[in-house]
């Protein structure tokens, strides 16, 4: 009686996917864990609060105007970033055209190439 050929044991599932570059596994695979985004966001919030507190205690300058208020740069950065991104909605509708827009002939303008 011949023994059944032994099945090759399946390789234990690693942190990366098959064919993934080892450096990618080392540097980036932890980002794919389910909790990453939540932990990262909480970490940023803590860092933000910590930076404002640090500015209050470490900054030796007197407040001369609004830009000297602790946390000004943080609030400004948040608002400026959000403003720039949210402007993308109306601007996209206004300025986006089909990719072959300039290749289409339409009257005199269609002569443009």
């Amino acid at each position: 009686m011949s023994a059944e050929p032994e099945r090759p044991a399946e390789a234990p599932a690693g942190p990366g996917e098959p064919g993934e570059h080892p450096l990618s596994v080392l540097l980036f695979s932890w980002m794919r864990t389910p909790l990453f985004l939540r932990v990262f966001a909480i970490g940023l919030c803590i860092a933000g609060v910590g930076l404002i507190l640090a500015e209050i205690f470490l900054s030796p300058y007197a407040i001369k105007d609004v830009t000297g208020v602790p946390g000004f740069q943080g609030v400004f950065g948040f608002v400026a970033f959000a403003f720039a991104v949210l402007c993308g909605w109306p601007l996209g509708k206004w300025l986006r055209r089909p990719e072959d827009y300039y290749d289409r002939r339409s009257g005199e303008a269609g002569r443009d190439r």
């Binding site: 990366g16 996917e17 064919g19 993934e20 570059h21 450096l23 990618s24 540097l27 980036f28 980002m31 985004l37 990262f40 966001a41 940023l44 919030c45 860092a47 933000g48 930076l51 404002i52 640090a54 500015e55 470490l58 900054s59 030796p60 300058y61 830009t67 946390g71 000004f72 740069q73 943080g74 609030v75 400004f76 950065g77 948040f78 608002v79 400026a80 970033f81 959000a82 720039a84 991104v85 949210l86 402007c87 993308g88 909605w89 601007l91 996209g92 300025l95 986006r96 055209r97 089909p98 990719e99 827009y101 300039y102 009257g107 005199e108 303008a109 002569r111 443009d112 190439r113």
Partner: protein, 594 residues
């Protein structure tokens, strides 16, 4: 030739000439080793020549042509930084392009780099114009390199702007030289702290033309769009080459001739702000980076406009850093282009799995351009920010620059790496970039970190060294400065996460975002058509009248001279005799009294 004479010749020759000489030999290099020797060796010889220059702020090489003394080599502390950056960039680009053999593109890229180096080291307007034009002509071949119909058209539009810039500069040079007889910038005006910077008064003859010519190359608002048109149409290496030289050469020219010109402050501020909005909605990541070039050059133009020692130092240092981190970002996108055939955000994502080195280098470039402390952008841009904050009258300019700093984090710091390498998985599993590309990216990344961690290395070369060192010791690394910069970046990143989570971040969409190019590609022709319509109508009416009159004349002639027409009708003999006498009488009168 003895070694001493060779060394003397090296030390007195414009370093750009060595790069151009190597470029002329590149087409004859058959194997990769000889190509590598030429592409990297040319810049290395140029670097050796520059380091061994026999003194700064003196004319090292002059030649007389048609009675004019041309200064072929006059290095000083302003041109030194730009020249050094250009030489390093040309070596990096040489390494980056080793994977493919295209003699025409390789050769013209090196001529382009060499002429940019030449332009910053010459000491007079006429030589600068010649080198300026050479950069324009040689750079067109980078756009033509893909040899597609689209790249050909983009190259012609690019050439139009470059030639227009050259013609404006030529007009300015001719007017200025004709009126003043001066060609050498060192002799034009009293300089700032011993350095010829901002030597031209805007009221001088031809100065406005020079400013306009420099402005086109610096991509001032409205005429900025040649960049977004040409860069994404160039090859993966061509875009890197283009990003390094043209706009920074224009910044050098602005600093040399117009530093301290108030108008430049606001032109620069506008340049930093408007690209932020376009970059948010742009789908092509190489176009996003082109907007980012506008944004960063805006900081430099603003610094040049402020014109204080700190601001000029900031503009020059930021140009150096920008050449490195922008090249790095364009190189990473070039690697993506080479491996996937696209740089459209809608078609990318998840590439970090198989291109981790490229991802890592892109992240270093993103951190640098975002001015994350301990990366190059932070130690250079902060000088411009501090210079604008120090002047109460520039409060609005400072606020707008701060807005642009948050904006650059959005489009270059987050959008580029996030949508190319992370974000949704596109399913693409391309091979990592070729070794030479990774090596070039590694060199640029190392410089970004080196400048960020040890800025004294760069600060010692800046035009106003004492001012730079004082800033380094008293302001750059203060807790308040670091904390405020971290605050800006941390809260802006939080805004990104919140907007993504709540799905308020506009999704990437295929499409073309129209910009100022619409004015001459669509608006202009449409306006011309609208103006031409009434003229066409009037023309049609006139033509109708003319045709009617002609027809009536033809019919009348036919009636008169036809076989049965008026002339042929029989008339009585008496009438004929009377007509004959009358005509004879008339002839006699004319002969007698005429």
């Amino acid at each position: 030739m003895t070694v001493e004479r060779l060394a003397d010749w090296l030390a007195n020759s414009n370093p750009g000439f060595f790069i151009i000489a190597a470029a002329l030999l590149v087409p004859f290099a058959k194997d990769v080793i000889s190509r590598a020797i030429l592409l990297v060796g040319g810049p290395v010889v140029a670097l050796v020549a520059l380091i061994n220059a026999q003194g700064l702020s003196i004319n090292l090489s002059t030649v007389k042509v048609l009675g004019l003394e041309l200064v072929l080599y006059r290095p000083d502390s302003l041109s030194f930084v730009f020249g050094l950056a250009f030489i390093i960039a040309s070596a990096i680009v040489g390494v980056y392009s080793l994977h493919r053999r295209d003699p025409l593109q390789d050769s013209t890229a090196m001529i382009y780099a060499g002429s940019a180096v030449t332009a910053v080291f010459v000491g007079d307007l006429i030589s600068m114009f010649i080198a300026w034009e050479l950069t324009a002509i040689s750079s067109v071949f980078q756009v033509l390199a893909p040899r597609t119909r689209e790249s050909g058209r983009a190259a012609m539009r690019y050439l139009f702007f470059q030639v227009a810039s050259g013609l404006l500069v030529l007009t300015g040079v001719c007017m200025f030289v004709a009126a003043t007889g001066k060609t050498q910038f060192a002799l034009m005006a009293p300089s700032m702290a011993g350095l010829p910077v901002g030597v031209m008064d805007i009221a001088a003859p031809g100065a406005v033309f020079l400013l306009a010519g420099f402005g086109i190359k610096a991509a001032f608002p409205i005429v900025h769009n040649w960049m977004q048109d040409a860069y994404p149409n160039a090859s993966e290496t061509g875009t890197v080459v283009l990003s390094a030289f043209t706009t920074k050469l224009a910044v050098y020219a602005l600093a040399r001739y117009f530093a301290g010109l108030d108008a430049l402050i606001w032109i620069g501020v506008i340049m930093t702000v408007f690209p932020v909005f376009f970059a948010v909605i742009e789908n092509d990541l190489r176009k996003v980076l082109s907007y980012s070039v506008n944004n960063q050059v805006g900081f430099m133009v603003c610094g040049v406009g402020i014109g204080t020692q700190l601001a000029v130092n900031g503009a020059v240092a930021h140009a150096f850093a920008d050449i490195m981190f922008k090249s790095l970002l364009f190189m990473s996108m070039g690697a993506v282009m080479l491996r996937t055939g696209t740089t459209k955000a809608t078609e990318l994502g998840g590439l970090h799995r198989t291109m981790p080195w490229t991802t890592l280098f892109c992240l270093i470039g993103a951190a640098s351009i975002s001015a994350l402390p301990f990366f190059s952008g932070f130690v250079t841009k902060s000088m411009i920010m501090s210079a604008s904050h120090a002047d109460a009258s520039l409060f609005m300019a400072w606020i707008m620059l701060l807005f642009a700093s948050a904006g650059v984090l959005e489009h270059a710091g987050i959008k580029i790496p996030y949508f190319a390498f992370f974000s949704h998985d596109s399913g693409k599993r391309p091979q990592e970039a070729p070794f030479n590309m990774l090596l070039a990216m590694g060199m640029a990344a190392a410089l970004c970190i080196l400048i960020g961690v040890a800025p004294a290395w760069l600060y010692q070369f800046l035009p106003y060294q004492e001012s730079a060192i004082a800033y380094l010791e008293s302001e750059l690394w203060t807790p308040a400065h670091l904390i405020q910069q971290f605050q800006l970046l941390v809260f802006a990143t939080l805004a990104f996460m919140l907007l993504q989570w709540r799905k308020y971040y506009p999704a990437e969409q295929r499409g073309l975002i129209i910009d100022s190019e619409w004015l001459w590609r669509r608006g202009g022709p449409q306006l011309w058509g609208a103006i031409a319509k009434p003229a066409q109508l009037a023309g049609r009416v006139c033509a109708g009248w003319m045709v009617g009159a002609g027809e009536a004349f033809r019919v009348a002639g036919r009636q008169m001279f036809a076989s049965d027409g008026w002339v042929a009708t029989k008339v009585p003999a008496s009438a004929s005799a009377i007509w004959s006498l009358a005509i004879l009488g008339l002839v006699l009168v004319v002969i007698l009294f005429g």
